[in-house]
């Protein structure tokens, strides 16, 4: 039996917001695949939970008229991976999410839960950073949006007020149209493991020239990081092996990984370089790697 003293199943988003506003000690539970384990570990005694998993409006993925993609926070990883709009427009986001946990976890775990936990290793997050995803946070009295990069304050810490619910994620057309992407997860097992280092790359490359490059790494700093100096260096370069090496080397200045039992700082730096290189080679290399 888990130490949950109260559970409330929200019937609608407004219902959830009202309940959360009137219950200062309550926590939102989405798929629960992280939260239930924390409760089992004793990290949240006498938990009071508000379930939002039955709110239909939070489970939708929609393509807006202006080309933006809106992903409801209660979309599961399985739904993200199988959704037609995602497959057509940002398949690499579904693929990145598909590296999280195992099938049973992906059937239940949600994109919103993955974000709000603030885990430094969250598998969907690196690619969402490359996509400049905009998060929508709602409470009874307010609605605000922010770039995903601003949401992360530290390990396990996100900019979510006690009365706020993450309701969705918007990916703007300008951030995916013309881009290709790849997420490479380094982990000790291929399934059911947490990333030792996550590396996401999205690139707009026209006729062999890099127009725009975005690189985001997880477990490479206390929060997910964009490799801005490598990104700046890349603009206008031909997509050759030499240039890819320059870009990956520059990215080392953008990350501050730490030693942990999953991997040393030095190993993580190596992973940053090699996985940026591999991602770029697979996406844009024009000279065949000679």
């Amino acid at each position: 039996m888990l130490d949950i003293c109260e559970y409330y199943e929200a019937e609608s988003l407004n219902d959830a917001k009202r309940k959360l506003a009137s219950s200062p000690s309550a926590n939102i539970i989405a798929g629960g695949t992280d939260l239930i384990i924390r409760i089992r570990d004793g990290a949240m005694a006498n938990a009071s939970l508000i379930g939002i998993g039955r709110i239909e409006e939070l489970k939708e993925i929609s393509l807006c008229k202006n080309g933006d993609i809106h992903i409801g926070s209660m979309v599961t990883f399985r739904e993200l991976e199988q959704n037609c709009t995602i497959k057509e427009r940002v398949p690499y986001l579904g693929e990145a999410g598909g590296t999280m946990g195992g099938p049973q976890i992906r059937n239940v775990a949600t994109i919103g839960g993955n974000l709000c936990n603030g885990a430094v290793s969250a598998d969907a997050v690196a690619m969402l950073c490359c996509l400049n995803a905009v998060l929508v946070l709602e409470s009874v009295n307010s609605t605000r949006s922010m770039l995903i990069q601003d949401f992360y304050l530290g390990p396990g810490q996100v900019d979510l007020m006690a009365d706020e619910i993450l309701t969705g994620i918007t990916i703007r057309e300008q951030d995916y149209l013309g881009y290709q992407g790849r997420y490479i997860k380094a982990s000790q097992r291929k399934a059911m493991d947490i990333a030792t280092l996550g590396c996401a790359v999205s690139v707009n490359c026209q006729e062999g020239t890099i127009r725009d490059l975005r690189i985001a790494c997880t477990v490479a700093a206390p929060t997910p990081v964009r490799c801005s100096s490598a990104e700046k260096l890349a603009v206008g370069l031909k997509a050759t092996s030499d240039n890819i090496m320059k870009i990956r080397d520059a990215a080392l200045g953008d990350v501050t990984p730490r030693d942990s039992w999953r991997g040393s700082k030095a190993y993580r730096k190596q992973l940053v370089m090699i996985n940026i290189q591999r991602a770029l080679e697979s996406l844009v290399l024009t000279d065949g790697g000679e």
Partner: protein, 153 residues
Amino acid sequence: MSLRIHFSVNGTHKELLVESGETLLEMLRGRLGLTGVKRGCSVGECGACTVLVDGLNVDSCIYLAAWADGREIRTLEGLADGDDLNPVQQAFVDHGAVQCGFCTPGLVMTATAMAEKGIKLTRDEVRRELSGHLCRCTGYQNIMTAVEAVLED
């Protein structure tokens, strides 16, 4: 706190009072005696507790009993028709995919979900779909063979 829930398990309608801190695993084993649902790691790593919720394979150890409300739950106990095993169970027997048997109910549930979709999968896709299950006896080869045999039929 207690919650009243209505759901179906293996085709039978149930109404139960469950606790807010009760997992689906605890409800199925403790209240309904469905001990084919195995408690392994309790943290969603091993897959021994896998059941189908509205057709999706989920780890019942990290799924609240309250979430079963209005849903259709299926466990190993509901698969055979009398003495006739379902195709996945029969394939596990035919291909020697069982040793100690502890991981078997979970694997059979996931494989049943795969088989019922009727989609052919490559070997890599089968491996991926089974990746949420740990088996410490078999080395997985006979399990893979059994599941592939079912998917090919």
